[in-house]
Symmetry: C2
Subunit: 266 residues, 2 copies
DNA sequence: CGTTCTTACCGTCTTCTGGTGTTATGTTAT
DNA sequence: ATAACATAACACCAGAAGACGGTAAGAACG
């Protein structure tokens, strides 16, 4: 009743979940006051303000005296969409499927996606391994792991994505040439992969140029959608991995347009 | 009685301290068994193994069946020397002194030193600010701070230093040109700054080339020592900051050779 | 000038993680 | 084959960090 956010909100700390719900609420209503949120979520004014500060830091909302308003949806989508992070199980399945492609000694590049993050947990055992990524959570995890050569892709930090980007990052990517690339995007049509933010697209494009074998990780929520920027045609990828919950009638069109699609089983 | 490590071991979590002591113990005895350590430190076998795993991950010891042996001292020094991290107070004082040089809007580069890390805590208030660093703990801290543009310097991760290095890092540094550089080294003679590891020297040299104003942070423990590689003459730095505990008779020679030395007061 | 909204500070409570030992299982050497 | 050693899995505990609300002080609006 207080919230009408869909998606699986488990596996998220209480404040994080509430913040995500608040974000959705704000986006839905366009602009609301702090007091509205107090009533809607049953917490104190203080807490609401703290949540809003955090959301503002991430660039999801804009605070002004008397309330907050939503930012352009592009930002919202690429943030909250991943915080209300649906489908842990599906991502894990996709990751397991992807893992099979990796062999000891290879070099692997990962982008800033939760799908890729799920893969990190599965690296153990496939050693030695060289992993390059611009995603801070992945970097942190990998730094604690032995037998993995971690190559951090630096750049300008983006709180929204918790990753590094911009020209410095693109340049770091250019300098590499990895065996594999696992990446994800925010939307996938029958023919192309899309993303909302230009600077992210820039880095992902560079990654595509710097890897021999390119794999796109897609959970079913991404399909049949589009976003502002066209990243690349699906045929640029050597493989597209989707999860089991993807309707077959959505997979066929991809294949019809020449993409190599594999289904990850739970 | 169990340990004869000198240095101030306060301000260090219990396991971290024990690991440092174990490392010292191993280096002293050359090679010991796990059981020896169990007796010497009064903890369970499991804990000893966990500690040794961590030390091995950092490259300080080598495990084999039946015990561990010490690695070449160079690695030991640049790791444990900083884990048995002496003089929190002095570092903080140096950091406070350094902070005064920073003004809002500037771009600052930090190397992988605890001295620089102390500085990070003082950034609040001097905003906006652009900070570039290759030191993972600093990156993590800064990523949580708003109003600071974080520019991560990527590269190959070194567990020993918890930072990024190698050619990729040097290249990332080359591409920059910051207003300020704060860095530290492991040893300082009357004329030069030194460091044990070549790859680290490489990065630090690049940093020196990429900053307008260069500041060397030196706590008194570093003075009158040397290490394998000569990094640069002290005259390359625009300023050398030492702590109050530094004997005056050690400071004068630096000045005699042309260095600009300032003393940070507690 | 007062009202409304915001921030700063503090105390309490809870939650979580890190550190640890124990037991059980695996592995290597003799 | 067996003993010594190493790892894995589980459970416990404590200390730390986080989350939250309340009050009070501050800032912006009318």
């Amino acid at each position: 009743m207080t919230s009408d956010v869909d998606g699986d909100t488990t596996e998220l700390s209480r404040p994080a979940r509430r913040q995500a719900e608040i974000a959705a609420y704000v986006v839905k209503h366009g602009s609301v006051s702090a007091n509205d949120l107090v009533e809607a979520f049953g917490v104190s004014v203080m807490t609401v303000h703290r949540d809003l500060d955090e959301l503002e830091r991430q660039g999801v909302v804009r605070k002004y005296r008397g309330g907050v308003s939503a930012q352009p949806t592009s930002v919202f989508e690429s943030n909250v969409a991943y915080r209300l992070n649906t489908a842990h199980a599906e991502k894990a399945a996709i990751a397991r499927h992807a893992r099979a492609m990796i062999e000891p000694g290879m070099s692997v590049m990962l982008d800033d996606s939760t799908s890729a993050l799920a893969l990190v947990d599965l690296f153990e055992g496939i050693t030695p391994l060289t992993v390059a990524t611009n995603f801070l959570p992945a970097i942190t995890k990998l730094s604690e792991q032995r037998d993995i050569t971690l190559l951090a892709l630096g750049g300008i930090y983006s709180p929204t994505h918790d990753s590094f980007g911009g020209m410095p990052c693109a340049e770091a990517v250019e300098a590499l040439n990895t065996d594999l690339l696992f990446c994800s995007v925010s939307a996938v049509s029958a023919t192309h992969a899309f993303h909302q933010e230009e600077e992210i697209v820039l880095v992902k494009r560079a990654m595509l140029r710097s890897a021999k074998t390119k794999v796109l990780l897609v959970d079913h929520a991404k399909l049949q959608r589009t976003a502002l920027h066209r990243l690349a045609p699906l045929t640029d990828f050597d493989m597209v991995i989707v999860d089991e919950k993807t309707p077959k009638e959505l997979i066929q069109p991809l294949r019809d347009h020449g993409a190599t699609v594999e289904v990850a089983e739970l």
